[in-house]
Amino acid sequence: MGAELGKYKSCVSARTTDKEILKFSQDGGIVTSLFGFALDTGIIDGAIVAANKEFYEKNPSKCILDNSNFEMIEPWRPIPAVVNTKAELLAAAGTKYNISPNVALLKEATRAFGLDKIGIVGTPCQMQAVRKAQLYPIGFRDVGASIALAVGIFCMENFPYQGILQLVEDHAAMKLDAVKKMEIGKGKFWVYGKRGQVVSLPLKVTHKYEQPGCHVCLDYVANLGDISTGSVGSPDGWSTVFVRSKIGDSVWAKAMAAGVFETQPIEKVKPGLELVTKLANEKITKNKKTLEGRATFGVGKALRNPYI
């Protein structure tokens, strides 16, 4: 077990046994099913997820918005929201390849939303933010102990909304309104249209639109989630799952006992952990180089290094 995959207690390839969730999910429906199970069994009483405009229209009280005019919210722009039911979870399922500041809702979830046991899903950097908020709760009064299940998702990098807009509308020549699903896999950025059309872009095209802040990130597989998951390493329609913390271990065992997931040993599936390890190392090596480059960025002047 190398450091690039973080600490974990177990790793499997998994898929939800709920056929309805599979219709909406990005891959194996892990996040949606886990939160659904945790809501049903009282492990959490609400979860912070990335919803969208349609969700907001139906559930305006469950989101916090920024200062934008609500009418101006674009398709495929994520809106952090608190969900309490399976139907709400399904409405928010699937990956949106741009930034959803889920941690912004973490305190309010315990206040206006009244949650005592919060579920939160997020990228590796957001899991880092959650754990920093628990250890150094400078502005998170009475929040840390209420985080009941933090699910991390694998992440190579994220895009600003305008980056996705340019990729889909300029490069893939599709209206964002007409897009059913986006996906990164097999070395390509895939855009699936609602009419059945599929466009793929080489990843090379996407690089310039990446969020620059992602280029100092040294975590690929959400080392700090209680459970972390992503498609890489597992066959199509399945997800790779790392069970990391004591909380994660306990929740995963209960979910397995309740038949929420079917699993295969990660050693038995293709491409398996070998690919996860390879991509994790690629990300970490590349971004360590970025950090080194920042140290000698100017003439005798460095850019700031956030890591102590």
Binding site: G6, K7, D66, N67, S68, R77, P80, N98, I99, S100, P101, N102, V103, A104, L105, L106, K107, E108, G122, T123, C125, Q126, Q128, A129, R131, K132, A133, Q134, L135, Y136, P137, I138, G139, F140, R141, D142, G144, A145, N158, P160, Y161, Q162, Q211, P212, G213, C214, H215, V216, C217, L218, N223, L224, S245, K246, L303, R304, P306, Y307, I308
Partner: protein, 252 residues
């Protein structure tokens, strides 16, 4: 008990919110006082008020430099304490007292307020307005381990406290820190920690980046210090589970 550390609490120009936050540890505060801390002086929670020689002193509030007594007290606090902790936004950064301009009865000449780091050397910051009970608790346990723990515990406490020691290099704070030290440095990844941490809801997330309503900002420094891209220690945060457990065990 012989292995308790001695602690004092100096109260300058602060609103007592930091004191209340400390007290809001409820049973945890009693455990701290039972097992780890001998509280030598504190204006609100103890009978003794005069500054004495202690291992650690917490200072709430900024220093009014037009108030001779306040200036004497902060200097005396420094002279008599091995470790000085600036507790809360005012002691660390001036916070809301930065907006002071005098003219208030019955001491209209009290116009200028400075964070304590502008007058004395400070060892550790606990930012936040108010600082949270859990942050005070975590730092208190770690400070105890640093002074009285085993070698392993001292190492852990040093790592935990290092960012809060380094924070003392700066004595002013503002939402602008997020712009200048995070966004302008191309480090922001849009997690939203700052927006959640802001005590006056001055920050919203616009297209995944913080937008500050700068007229609302009280200059407490919570947003910047909460930001994982302001400072972040893998040594500490990667071991969050063990550290959380150790802190909870210490307070049993």
């Amino acid at each position: 008990m012989a292995d308790k550390i001695t602690v004092g609490y100096t109260h300058l120009s602060g609103c007592t919110g930091c004191t209340v936050a400390l007290a809001d540890n409820y049973g945890g505060l009693l455990t701290l006082l039972d097992k780890y801390v001998d509280l030598k002086y504190m204006p609100t929670l103890a009978d003794a008020r005069h500054i004495q020689k202690v291992d650690v002193s917490f200072v709430e509030g900024s220093v009014c430099i037009n108030d001779k007594l306040a200036v004497e007290e902060i200097k005396e606090t420094r002279e008599k304490s091995a470790v000085v902790v600036a507790l809360g936004g005012c002691a660390c950064y001036g916070n809301i007292t930065r907006f002071g301009r005098g003219g208030q009865q019955n001491q209209p000449q009290h116009e200028a307020y400075l964070p304590i780091g502008d007058l004395i050397k400070v060892d550790v910051y606990i930012p936040g307005c108010a600082p949270t009970p859990q942050m005070i608790r975590n730092v208190a346990v770690m400070a105890y381990l640093l002074l009285k723990g085993t070698k392993e515990q001292k190492d852990l406490a040093t790592k935990f406290l290092t960012p809060l020691m380094k924070a003392t290099e700066t004595t002013s704070a503002c939402f602008c820190d997020l712009m200048v030290k995070v966004i302008n440095q191309s480090l922001c990844m849009g997690c939203g920690s700052c927006a959640a941490a802001c005590p006056v809801n001055a920050i919203t997330m616009e297209y995944g980046k913080p937008q500050g309503e700068r007229d609302l900002c009280i200059k407490c420094g919570a947003c910047y210090n909460q930001c994982p891209r302001a400072w972040y220690s893998f040594d500490v945060v990667d071991n969050y589970e063990a550290i959380n457990e150790a802190i909870m065990a210490a307070l049993q």
